[in-house]
């Protein structure tokens, strides 16, 4: 039984877990938002103490004070608190459940209703017309005629809202699509038929409202007949894995799929002469347990020097952009990101490799805040660069036909 399985088994009720809390403060020591806000009421231990106090002897909470509501949503749901909890409390799940209880009582912050409205209207968190989901393809000079949209395919590339609409993340989408194409993968995207995975609603304490989105996406998958779904967004991946209840369908993050393609010899990787460090996204690493696949991919790129940051794998820092936190506190999100970028700088990395569109966006803002030269690159972009480097090498060493 894995630790996370034990933790799932253990969660009783938020209040029960609050009593089990040892009050040691190990969670406080690693909480990225508490590190910035610093008051005890902004810490995981503080929230549990407030819950115990509210419940009193009756064991029931009838009302959540606005101060608590504000603080419980000041959380990136990165899960680091639960990872270090010596009493093995699944704190990430607890915070999400607590948000649900708050929202159920109609006490959620205003942004929750906004998220619900936007997703109900447009089915994407950016409030753009959803039929524009695949516009990123139009920026590719060498996209195939079918624009990656087929009626049937073995693999569904589920792009996700951030990778579809955010200009800062679309480079990942284009790179991954191209890599999949070059590897000969029979894949498709859903275009305007792709709806948000539901993660923003779950993080906003409105998991029930995510049902419609989930059912739609499952129907589209069934219509395609795809047996594998590939994600480049760890939150989408996490959501599908834990909330979709799919059987007989393989769900893979792109780091895992790329590792498979490389093992199968379906990608020809060329040299990249660079020193990089890899950031484990919270929903991929700590919350889904995928640590080695991205490292295997990195190891397979010739010429690449990989250095680890002080905090890596399950101890990795949060970029600050999860759990809808960026919507609430963009300035603090950037501040949190600077700690992570600083670790990459301290590791003497010239490039910070991520595997998440949201991490990429946020960490780029951290780089900007620090006025650093560190480049932020997604693993998919790095792989495409490596494939192109191989093509270039072959072209330049191609004898009479190559340039002299």
């Amino acid at each position: 039984m894995t630790t996370s399985e034990i933790k799932r088994l253990f969660l009783t009720t938020p209040l029960g877990e609050a009593t089990i809390c040892a009050r040691c403060g190990a969670c406080n020591a690693v909480c990225c938002t508490h590190r910035e806000l610093q008051w005890e009421s902004t810490s995981p231990r503080g929230w549990l103490a407030i819950l115990r106090g509210l419940a009193g002897s009756s064991g029931r909470i009838s009302d959540f004070p606005p101060e608590l509501v504000e603080r419980v949503f000041n959380c990136t749901t990165c899960g680091k608190c639960g990872q270090v909890c010596p009493a093995h409390i699944d704190l990430r799940r607890l915070w999400v459940e607590l948000r649900e209880k708050i929202v159920d009582r109609g006490q959620g912050p205003a942004f929750v209703d906004q998220v619900k409205e936007v997703l109900e209207r447009e089915h994407n968190v950016f409030d753009f017309p959803n039929e524009e989901r695949a516009e990123w393809v139009e920026f590719m000079s060498d996209a195939p005629d079918h624009r990656y949209q087929k009626e049937k395919a073995e693999v569904l590339y589920y792009v996700g809202c951030v990778s579809s609409f955010s200009p800062g993340a679309q480079g990942i989408t284009r790179s991954l699509a191209k890599v999949l194409e070059l590897s000969g993968t029979d894949f498709t995207i859903l275009g305007g038929e792709e709806w948000c995975c539901g993660f923003p609603l779950m993080a906003a304490g409105s998991k029930k409202e995510a049902r419609t989105l989930i059912e739609h996406n499952k129907e589209r998958l069934a219509a395609l007949g795809a047996r594998t779904v590939v994600f480049n967004c760890p939150s989408c991946y996490h959501m599908w894995k834990h909330e979709y209840g799919l059987e007989g369908v393989e769900l893979l993050h792109h780091t895992e799929y790329l590792a498979r393609l490389i093992t199968q010899g379906r990608l020809n990787l060329g040299k990249i002469d660079d020193t990089i460090t890899y950031h484990d996204p919270c929903d991929l690493g700590r919350n889904s347990g995928v640590y080695e696949a991205p490292r295997e991919v990195l190891k397979s790129i010739p010429g690449l020097t990989v250095v680890e940051m002080l905090h890596n794998r399950e101890e990795a820092l949060c970029c600050g952009g999860g759990g809808d936190f960026e919507m609430l506190a963009p300035a603090m999100t950037q501040k949190i990101a600077t700690r992570l970028v600083q670790e990459a700088i301290d590791a003497d990395a010239r490039r910070l490799v991520v595997a998440c569109p949201q991490c990429k966006r946020i960490e780029m803002s951290g780089v900007e805040a620090l006025k650093s030269n560190v480049r932020v690159t997604d693993l998919a972009e790095l792989i495409l660069e490596s494939v192109r480097s191989a093509d270039h090498t072959e072209a330049t060493s191609g004898g009479a036909d190559g340039p002299s």
């Binding site: 253990f10 610093q38 008051w39």
Partner: protein, 489 residues
């Protein structure tokens, strides 16, 4: 505190000060689940204001203000102790020191680090290993949460103490702010001496930085686990191992009840629950470890110990910060932390087990061998703080545990408020007089962390406390069908 004082401080620190009761209420407790009606009946635990200084200068200005206005000041960072060491007893100013966190300087040549007081032990050690190839010599088992300044103010025994001694001996220099706001540099030879501040629980001054001696980050580590049918054999082995030269880095023991409590709490472990466990950890170069490990097999044979699988030994090491996971069987825990002569460990454990049998409580004990002569056992039993009356009466068992430790030459580990009834077991009368003299010299108005360490408050004076605890014990016998029975079910 008067409103004008609160206003004055709010003006001084702006948004790093608050008098909001939503916030200040959270500073009324530490890791101990003391029923609020009890703690608030005895003390004014609610601070009037919480302030978060970010520099020595700000700490000094706070203490100058407090001295001028005779306001009590309670320093606090992680609050990871259990005796209200960092909880106010007279309201006043709560000095939240968490803003003073991080490494200031590393001297690789001298192998020292200068560090801010609220730096967590684990983060310090991780960073030292990562960046400088150095490591702290010892750390508390609460290292993920507890702070460097906090451990210096407490007893300072933990993981690595067997090899490197108490943390107090590893502090080379410190900076402190005295009660009147004066900033002083402390060394073993300064006046006042650095030693006055060790184990002083924040009553002598506020430590604002410390210089610690370090060791090279160990090249490798090795973990061994030996099982014993009876605790006397375990003690015998522990004594032999603690006497070895070179010594292991850390030696940990746990009685069979501890493993049972972990299993009862729902954790899966292959550790056998019918034996007592002695885990021995080595750190250093490969050759150092080899040399240190060699006598272990012989000692195990001589003491009828059985070596367990190295996987289990490694599990014991990786769980060294998670002993509290047994809390799931509670959901609360009550118990004692003590310092005990190693030669008395087995008889103490037998005595505790007898107490548990008599009361129907699954009391378990685990701890560390911290020197060739001393160990630091922790004895706990599950309880349920939500069941007010039975929880209150169960507190009487903690006194019974302390009394058993005392009968075996032990004393409480840390004092704060709740262990003041046992002060006579901690210090001789001359030691106590000397400590009081130092306190009066440095803090004549008693503003720094009042109510701790030096004297028991009226209702906790040994005679009254003893009477109260006896009454609770009787009431427990008469009324309780809950705590132990529920836990053993």
């Amino acid at each position: 505190m008067e409103d004008k004082d609160v206003k004055g401080l709010l003006e001084l620190l702006g948004d790093r000060a608050t008098a909001s009761s939503f916030e200040t209420a959270l500073y009324q407790s530490d890791v101990a689940a003391v029923p609020p009606f009890l703690s608030r009946f005895l003390f004014q635990t609610l601070p009037d204001i919480v302030v978060r200084p970010r520099s020595t200068e700000e700490v000094a200005s706070m203490l100058r203000y407090a001295a001028t206005h005779r306001l009590p000041v309670t320093p606090r960072a992680a609050a990871s102790t259990a005796y209200f060491n960092a909880v106010p007893t007279r309201g006043g100013i709560l000095l939240d020191l968490n803003g003073l966190r991080g490494i200031l300087d590393v001297d690789r040549e001298r192998a020292t680090v200068t560090v801010l007081p609220a730096t967590r032990w684990k983060e310090l050690d991780d960073e030292l290993r990562y960046r400088w190839g150095l490591a702290v010599k010892s750390y508390p088992t609460s290292a993920p949460s507890s702070t460097v300044g906090g451990w210096f103010n407490m007893e300072g025994w933990g993981v690595g103490s067997l090899q490197y001694g108490s943390m107090h001996g590893q502090v080379l220099r410190a900076e402190a702010v005295l009660a009147g706001g004066k900033v002083v540099e402390l060394t073993p030879d300064s006046n006042p001496s650095l030693h006055w501040f060790a184990r002083s629980e924040g009553t002598m001054g506020i430590i604002t930085s410390l210089e610690l001696g370090l060791r090279p980050a160990p090249e490798s580590e090795s973990h061994r686990l030996i099982a014993f049918r009876d605790f006397r054999s375990l003690q015998q082995a522990a004594e032999k191992i603690a006497d070895l030269d070179p010594k292991p880095y850390h030696v940990h023991f746990a009685d069979s009840a501890f493993t049972r409590s972990i299993k009862r709490a729902g954790f899966t472990t292959e550790l056998p629950a019918d034996v007592h466990l002695l885990s021995v950890h080595f750190e250093g170069s490969r050759s150092e470890i080899e040399a240190a490990e060699t006598p272990l097999a012989k000692i195990a044979r001589e003491t009828s110990g059985r070596e367990l699988d190295s996987r289990l030994a490694h599990e014991e090491w990786t769980e060294r910060f998670s002993e509290v996971r047994a809390k799931r069987a509670g959901p609360s825990l009550l118990g004692t932390e003590t310092l005990l002569p190693l030669r008395s460990l087995a008889s103490y454990i037998e005595s505790v087990q007898g107490l548990g049998r008599g009361l129907g409580l699954p009391i378990y004990t685990y701890g560390a061998v911290v020197s060739p002569d001393w160990c630091q056992p922790n004895s706990f039993f599950p309880a349920d703080e939500r069941r007010g009356w039975s929880y209150l009466t169960a507190l009487s068992v903690t006194k019974a545990l302390q009394d058993r430790a005392a009968r075996h030459g032990g004393r409480p580990y840390g004092i704060g408020v709740w262990n003041t009834p046992y002060l006579g077991r901690v210090w001789s009368s001359s030691e106590r007089r000397e400590r009081l003299r130092r306190k009066a010299h440095l803090d004549p108005h008693g503003v720094l962390n009042p109510g701790k360490l030096y004297a028991a408050p009226f209702l906790l004076r040994p005679s009254l406390f003893g009477l109260g605890m006896s009454a609770l014990a009787v009431l427990r016998r008469l009324t309780v069908s809950g705590v132990g029975e529920r836990s053993t079910a």
